[in-house]
């Protein structure tokens, strides 16, 4: 009998976040930039969290980022991931921060300010791409 495997959880987009997730499926990371004050933001929202303007563009992030902080989960609340695994918060070159995984790097080799770059990883057994990061090759 095949071993039952808990599927990886996928995002459930809202009306506001759908353009973001749609762009990820095209393997582009779209962040929002305010036309009035120039602020870049995530998560997707209908207005600029700095000046409340509703005039904005969705622009492609450069993909350059650095690690702001990270944790290593040894005891997980949701059983779809093999422990220990890490989750990082990275800061994009444009400013916004986001949760992600750093692929191709051991947990113990992560460090604050580590330069990383964007790529898109297909979720195991599912038709869905997630924005993830990998160490910048020196």
């Amino acid at each position: 009998m095949a071993e039952f495997k808990i599927p990886k959880p996928l995002p459930l987009p809202s009306e506001d976040s759908k353009p973001y997730w749609d762009s990820c499926q095209r393997q582009e990371l779209l962040i929002q930039r305010c036309d009035d004050c120039g602020y870049y933001w995530l998560p997707p929202s209908i207005l600029c969290p700095r000046c409340m303007s509703t005039n904005f563009q969705r622009v492609k992030a450069s993909g350059k980022a650095k690690i702001f902080t990270w944790e290593v989960t040894h005891q997980a609340l949701y059983p779809a991931f093999d422990t220990p695994f890490h989750v990082a918060i990275v800061e994009l070159e444009e400013g916004p921060r986001m949760h992600t995984n750093i692929v191709g790097c051991k947990n113990e080799d992560l460090y604050v300010d580590m330069p990383v770059e964007l790529f898109f990883e297909k979720v195991e057994d599912q038709d869905w791409y997630l924005p993830k990061f990998k160490p910048v090759e020196s």
Binding site: L12, T69, H74, A76, I89
Partner: protein
């Protein structure tokens, strides 16, 4: 006009606290807490005309919790609501109670919570809104506080041993509190350092207990409180601050991202016309040791980044310079959403704490801290209150 010292906490009640207690529901624990607090105040249910509760998210409850709780208590409430700010909620409830009485719409308000961690037949749901965290494996409070802990360690050199000093202080105090979940279970710094990682850099003993239970306090006017059973404990000041500084940095280069919650303390001190040096005891929210650290700095008891060395050498223990979390805190008394902190502050100021009584304690600084860690942006709320006898 300032509300300083115009309102008071006149009654407190707390249920048995246990890792698992299938004898009661979320509602049941809330009702039991209310009954105890009303009786402690020397009031009857007919005196109560306001009821505020911590929103119990999924714990077997969804809609109409507040209205049904009022009906089940048999009170004719004129002011009832649930509030959803996680561990910041209990103090926010007390603030709302004082403001509602001041507005003239009610007289005696009960603020309470109930929590059953394992309600019958209620599965753990994965609602929409977890889209930016769960797909990467992050869920729950522990990972997010671990992210904050890592960054604090990086920015300021804070160590796991310093986190441990907080856990040890709380455990020591819990061992003088027979109602604490960890009563009779002493812990050393070595035990802390040997405890397993839950989410690195947080060890098992950096995390609070899971607790089934309930608690409540009664808020009334200073005038009425003077004629009740206990010496009144006056509400001298309070404040709040809300923000997501770790996900969305401040747009102000002159203010540290770590200082976002300082507004909660500053507002309370201003209202109470006091400063940190006037505070005799602290009850600081401590769902995790790192949360205690953030609260200590936000409260102005040390500078941002200096709390690691501050907590060493027993300074925060009974007998130390600034006794904190004298009932054991969330870490060792139990996860009461912070009601335990309010109740302990009241009992210390009444002088009712026996073995763990801080001699002549006149002022207490109490905090709550909570929010949302799975939905984006992950936002934390901090609530503060200064009490005096």
């Amino acid at each position: 006009m300032s509300l300083k010292d115009k309102y008071a906490i006149a009654g407190v009640g707390i249920t048995k606290l246990a890792r698992k207690n299938p004898e009661s529901s979320t509602m049941g624990f809330a009702l039991e807490g209310c009954k105890r607090a009303i009786e402690d105040a020397g009031l009857t249910k007919d005196d109560i005309d306001g009821l505020l509760l911590v929103h119990p998210s999924q714990q077997g409850e969804r809609h109409g919790f507040a209205g049904r709780a009022a009906d089940l208590l048999g009170i004719h409430s004129g002011f009832t609501s649930t509030v959803d700010a996680g561990g910041a909620t209990p103090i926010i409830l007390v603030q709302m109670a004082a403001m509602a009485i001041n507005a003239g719409i009610c007289n005696n308000v009960v603020c309470c919570y109930g929590w059953q961690n394992n309600p019958i037949d209620v599965p753990l749901g994965l609602p929409p809104g977890f889209e930016f965290t769960l797909p990467y494996g992050e869920i729950g409070a522990t990972p997010f506080l671990a992210q904050i802990a890592r960054r604090h360690m990086h920015d300021f050199g804070t160590t796991s041993q310093q986190f441990g000093a907080i856990a040890v202080a709380c455990r020591k105090h819990a061992n003088m509190n027979p109602n604490a979940q960890m009563y009779g279970r002493p812990m050393t710094l070595e035990d802390h350092q040997n405890s397993r990682w839950v989410v690195e850099p947080l060890r098992l003993f950096d995390c609070c207990a899971w607790t089934d239970g309930g608690a409540a306090v009664v808020v009334t006017s200073a005038e009425r409180a003077k004629n009740l059973k206990h010496k009144p404990v006056y509400i001298s000041g309070f404040g709040q601050a809300h923000g997501a500084p770790l996900l969305r940095p401040w747009r102000r280069p002159d203010v540290s991202d770590w200082a976002v919650w300082a507004k909660a303390g500053d507002t309370a001190y201003k209202m109470a016309k006091l400063s940190p040096k006037d505070i005799d005891i602290c009850q600081l929210y401590d769902a995790y040791t790192i949360v205690f650290i953030v609260q200590l700095e936000s409260g102005g008891f040390c500078k941002v980044g200096e709390s690691g060395p501050f907590v060493e050498d027993g300074r925060i223990e009974l007998g130390g310079e600034l006794p904190c979390n004298t009932a054991g805190g969330l870490l060792s008394e139990g996860h009461t959403f912070g009601f335990g902190h309010i109740i302990e502050a009241v009992q210390q100021l009444r002088g009712d704490c026996g073995e763990r009584q801080v001699k002549d304690a006149e002022t207490a600084y109490v905090t709550g801290f909570g929010g949302v860690v799975n939905e984006y942006p992950p936002t934390f709320s901090c609530s503060t209150m200064i009490l005096r006898r």
